[in-house]
Subunit: 219 residues, 2 copies
DNA sequence: GCCTTTCTGTTGTAAAAACAACCGCTTTGT
DNA sequence: ACAAAGCGGTTGTTTTTACAACAGAAAGGC
């Protein structure tokens, strides 16, 4: 667990809390390290979640497969990101999505309800943590709205441009790397892969962008 | 302001707080009542928000119009619902959407940062309120995910069924009333109104559902 | 009551997406 | 090194959607 303190320190959840204190809190909160091989499930749709999870190594996809095997990718989780916060509230029902390891990954689980429900004076970081949680989920909320904006576009081209230009803004560069291959990007944008591939090549031929694998450059 | 205490008391934000205490808190937080006529803007895209807002009368739409006048409705806000929570975090940027009064409406604005940033021992409800805020935004997060699920469907029919059946589940009945007219529903689901109208009638003819105005019954 | 505006459904056409099948290249595993 | 699996691009066909234009019904204003 100690190895990951530097990562944890940089997460939104532990913002403003020192490394020493994090270690104390983790044990107090019953933190648990779990490892996954590529392709393994971290969480499954329908489960009830009692913990909040931080990814400390690897990468994950939050996704959903329907009856016919059509996959929809809700979001990509990178190192240092939190997930599961939306299901910590008492009335929140079962998980709506699967969480799956895209590569070998390591997570930290811990029972955030202890923070939320125990006497608030028990630990001086309770308040900080609740507030951090609030900011984290607030940010996730805004990013979901932005994803809705991409998906709401009517054509594949518009969806691509909406997504790629937001990534460019986030990464502060016209040259970006995305965490998806073609199929995954299509599943993320809810379009057909071949149609999307086609559109990408048209856009490239028109001089709108260039790409190689998962690196894109916008002009 | 007093007139709306019963409404406020039933909101998620003041859950677990008595009417008397709410009144005290409101003045302490600089709560402000604002009224809007049908069609007026409550908030505008690009603004920076310092307050959290509760709708106590009427109804609102959170929406966005692009350069060409295409409207996209993000969500409908009913009496007792909170909005703006996602923009209270310090690093959250400008508002991504407009908020507009669908009918004559009344809101309560108040500076929630006072709760989040002042010494937490100043008021015994600070912690309750931060926690309530957290649960509220957590629920909104889940509902955004569900909306993404509707929009992610590939055909208009699937989008309609996804949306309507979720409403039926929420309203716990096969017979539901939606807060949208046809154009608004189309803007909510990001499809063309006439195509949607067409599809609805086809579905009716096939015996999948029945409707009259904004009332729908699923079979 | 009458006029105007808004709302909903209808139709036809053009554009776009989904779907399916296939190919060559790369990566992976043994 | 070889076979198998995965990935990305291409093409043709079918389905679906967007778009535009219009008409009748309903609602709202004066």
């Amino acid at each position: 667990m100690k190895d990951y303190i530097p990562v944890l320190k940089r997460t939104k959840l532990f913002s403003g809390i020192g490394g020493e204190d994090i270690l104390t809190m983790l044990s107090c909160l019953g933190a648990e390290l779990r490892t996954y091989k590529k392709g393994e499930y971290v969480l499954r749709q329908g489960e009830h979640l009692r913990d909040i999870v931080i990814l400390v190594e690897g990468s994950l996809h939050i996704q959903k497969d329907d009856y016919w095997g059509n996959r929809s990718i809700l979001r990509h989780i990178g190192v240092g990101e939190i997930f599961g916060e939306a299901y910590v509230a008492p009335e929140s029902g079962a998980l709506l999505n699967d969480v799956i390891a895209v590569e070998n990954s390591v997570t930290v689980f811990f029972d955030v309800k202890r923070v939320l429900t125990t006497c608030t004076s028990a630990c001086r970081f309770h308040n900080t943590m609740v507030q951090n949680l609030f900011f984290a989920i607030s940010e996730k909320n805004r990013s979901l709205v932005q994803k809705l904006e991409h998906i709401s576009r009517r054509t594949i081209r518009e969806k691509l441009l909406s997504y790629l230009s937001e990534e460019a803004k986030k990464q502060n560069s016209g040259s970006i790397t995305i965490p998806f291959n073609r199929q995954q990007l299509a599943d993320y944008l809810s379009v057909d892969r071949s149609a999307m591939s086609n559109e990408l090549c048209k856009m490239r031929d028109e001089g709108l962008l260039a790409f190689e694998k998962n690196r894109f450059r916008l002009f």
